[in-house]
Symmetry: C2
Subunit: 484 residues, 2 copies
């Protein structure tokens, strides 16, 4: 985190962000710093002697074993563990009386330091700083508020995690879908969309929202070459990139090379090559620790950081003390440290890679012989994007003329989904991940509804669920495709 | 929480709230419930066997003593305590593998139940439900988003906690200040403002934001009579009330009657008399447990609850597992239970009442003899609103003609504030709490700047801070008022 970004990106701020006022009490506190030992009758903070909390303990996995995740998962109650502590009366990094006070939206200095160390270890971003968040949803939607005015256009993969993309819609942000292939976002599609933009449609997109690793749902991961091209296009067309990367730590080798091999090197993130300060990178502990953590961080330029902190002060306020203590002690010398954290996530990566490979071999066995579906091979994340070969169905039709679509793909997929449900299997159909967009701007030659022939399937569940689920899928496909 | 509210209040929703889409995956999960024992390949949730967390422990105050707060505050490390636990392997209300999963914005059922029991114990609101929040700031700003369109007018006390009120401004909400007296919001001022509203100014206010107990900064508390009148006016003028009540549990008897007396009965809240479902009540643990909790709750009609949950799903997502475990176990049979919680807050109330009375007696000794300032006697909260008798200053002038103001009150108060800082004391001047408003609608006869002659002083700090601080204040006043 050295050197200095010089590009002025203030025109990307939303009007809300520009209008937001800092807390006027901050100015009073600033003035009060002119003398040491100032007596304060200013703040209405409950005195820490009145917090009814003496200490917290978290019992977490120990990292003694070579493969700590496998040991932890299989050993049950006797699994080796270690204790993280915060106390009112005993030494620790974040004692109760410090951690449980009001802080600013930036969070506690100790927690920021811990996450800065982690961000540097993996990304070493040029001249960026860390802002604590309340998890991924909080982080991404704060970025939307920071950058989006009503009527603005944002770019994203045409299939994306809809709960998050939809969150921007009531704010007046309009999504512009980018076609994808198995490698995810196609730089040439991005270039074409920006270069051919018709201003009559409204302002040209100025934000790209992307999940570079294990994109949800298609499971795609951007190559280094695509990342570089996309960043260059962001510079050329003045785009801000929201890099939402919850699956960063779950990147896999190809199935052929994975047997016993070392975990693969992690792809360089957008933030690691961000010389302009135009990347807001969102990190999450939900997939590698637990979803209930509700603590994560954004890595961005100091400029965007300052606006994120002001917004946080005016909305959620600072993150909870519990999670800040947990993560500070976990990454600290009495916990795992960053090196131990890396050991855990490497081991976790191997665990999920085994699950992915098991899933793919079960798919090959149960579904492969039907010839009716094909599984992609995700290089990251938790999802297999399975293409259903819908054009082989006896009732498949082209040029149906139904609302925009040129085939009856959508209808057949609804029926197949129902067939699976009747068989006792629930999957996520592609339709729920299609970006909400103005039908006027759907691609008339190649409308998105004709690409609804995918199911998102996860390998994050149990082995039993994979075995049973894929058997049901194979059977449902066979029966459904025999229908006249 | 019986009977049923019948008033349709859907016209109060903001356009954002109306446009917000529920997560489309919810529909899939709903369909999947048609059969038991469905196999799922749908959700990308990390399996709980991979959470590296085995258990959590919170060591909290025990309630054995008659006056548990006094015992806890004075006993130091040997203070009697009890342990709250959540475990992966041992029985508890919220085991790790349940608490740390993804949940909806409504939070975990067990935590909702615990807070519902608490809300019923104190308010027994007619036909209302509880929504978990991430603390007071999160709750109030979510209410602003739920109800406010750009250009809308909201009502509030003219001096109010500015960090929160300012949060609504970038969203386009315009504040309409209501004049207050020592008893807080004056019902007749509310009636006059609504009845005399000139539509040329824009849409008539439809939301009242109010802090009924220990209003910050003036420390005022609404009488039962005022509450009833205000609720009737809300019905007559179709107002939604945001009842922000962080100091509810810190209500005091008058100084004369407080010596050894039982803690006073808590005033009936707006939500307890809300037959229409037009009150959104915001509760916080920050003042009675600790600010770092970042967990609270809103009590509202089921209608507003549903919109709050959808918004939470589209923004912060559900509250952190840590706080949900803490509060569920604390209020549960293995913790304090609601009865024990009530014992703690009664004891805490006595503690703050002692501090208030000490503060007032010190004020009487150090400042009273000057005749230059007068302390209000707050019946709740953490603040004394001290009136500075600025008109006694040799340089006090009327009809100065300076920007709106009719006196030089504002300027003299800036000087007095600086004088206190030079003496080593920091206080909060009234100016930082003045609502941001369009100068065009300032009261020309009685502009707010001429009422800036107040300091907000807290009695929440240490006895030493009160002694030293009030001595400095007395001295600063004397010296400042001798200036020619």
């Amino acid at each position: 985190m050295s050197s200095s970004s010089t590009v002025d990106l203030s025109h990307h701020l939303s009007n809300e962000a520009k209008l937001r006022l800092p807390n006027p009490m901050k100015e009073i506190w600033r003035l009060a710093r002119r003398k040491p030992n100032m007596v304060s009758l200013a703040n209405g903070d409950p005195h820490s002697s009145l917090y009814p909390i003496k200490g917290l303990q978290f019992e977490v996995a120990s990292l003694e074993e070579e493969d700590p995740v496998a040991a932890w998962r299989t050993a049950g109650p006797s699994a080796p563990s270690q204790i993280l502590k915060s106390s009112r009366d005993d030494p620790c990094i974040l004692p109760v009386q410090t951690a449980f006070q009001y802080t600013t939206g930036a969070g506690l200095v100790e927690a920021q330091q811990a996450l800065t160390e982690l961000a540097n270890f993996y990304h070493n971003p040029p001249d960026h700083v860390v802002t604590l968040t309340l998890g991924n949803g909080d982080a991404v939607t704060k970025c939307f508020r920071l950058l989006g005015n009503p009527g603005d256009h944002f770019l994203a993969d045409e299939f994306t995690f809809s709960a998050l993309a939809n969150a921007a819609v009531p704010q007046g942000i309009r999504w512009v879908p980018l076609k994808i292939d198995e490698g995810g976002l196609i730089p040439e599609e991005l270039e074409r969309t920006m270069a051919d933009w018709n201003e009559e449609r409204g302002p040209r997109p100025h934000v790209l929202y992307t999940v570079p690793c294990g994109q949800n749902p298609p499971g795609s991961t951007l190559t280094v070459e695509r990342r570089k091209k996309i960043y260059e296009l962001a510079q050329r067309f003045d785009l801000v990139i929201i890099e939402d990367d919850p699956y960063y730590f779950l990147q896999y080798t190809s199935p052929a090379s994975s047997d016993g091999a070392e975990a693969r090197a992690l792809s360089p993130s957008f933030v690691s090559i961000d010389v302009d300060g135009r990347v807001l990178r969102v990190d999450s502990f939900s997939k590698i620790i637990a979803p209930g953590m509700r603590l994560g961080w954004i890595t961005s330029s100091a400029f965007f950081h300052a606006h994120l902190v002001t917004y946080t002060d005016s909305a959620t306020q600072h993150p909870h003390a519990f999670g800040q203590i947990f993560i500070t002690e976990l990454l600290g010398p009495a916990g795992w440290s960053v090196k131990g954290f890396d050991k855990w996530v490497r081991s976790l990566r191997n665990e999920y890679q085994r699950r992915r490979d098991l899933f793919l071999s079960l798919f090959e066995k149960e579904v492969g012989p039907t010839g009716l579906a094909r599984a992609g091979t995700p290089e990251a994340g938790m999802f297999v994007w399975a293409r259903i070969n819908v054009e082989r169905h006896p009732r498949f039709r082209r040029d149906t003329g139904a609302a925009g679509a040129r085939t009856n793909c959508r209808q057949l997929m609804v029926e197949l989904f129902e067939k699976c449900l009747d068989g006792g299997l629930v999957v996520m159909p592609a339709s729920v991940f299609a970006l909400t967009l103005d039908p006027k701007y759907n691609d008339a030659e190649n409308p998105i509804e004709d690409r609804f022939n995918y199911f998102r399937l996860t390998f994050a569940g149990t082995e039993e669920a994979m075995r049973e689920g894929l058997a049901i899928l194979g059977l449902s496909l066979r029966e459904f495709f025999e229908q006249k």
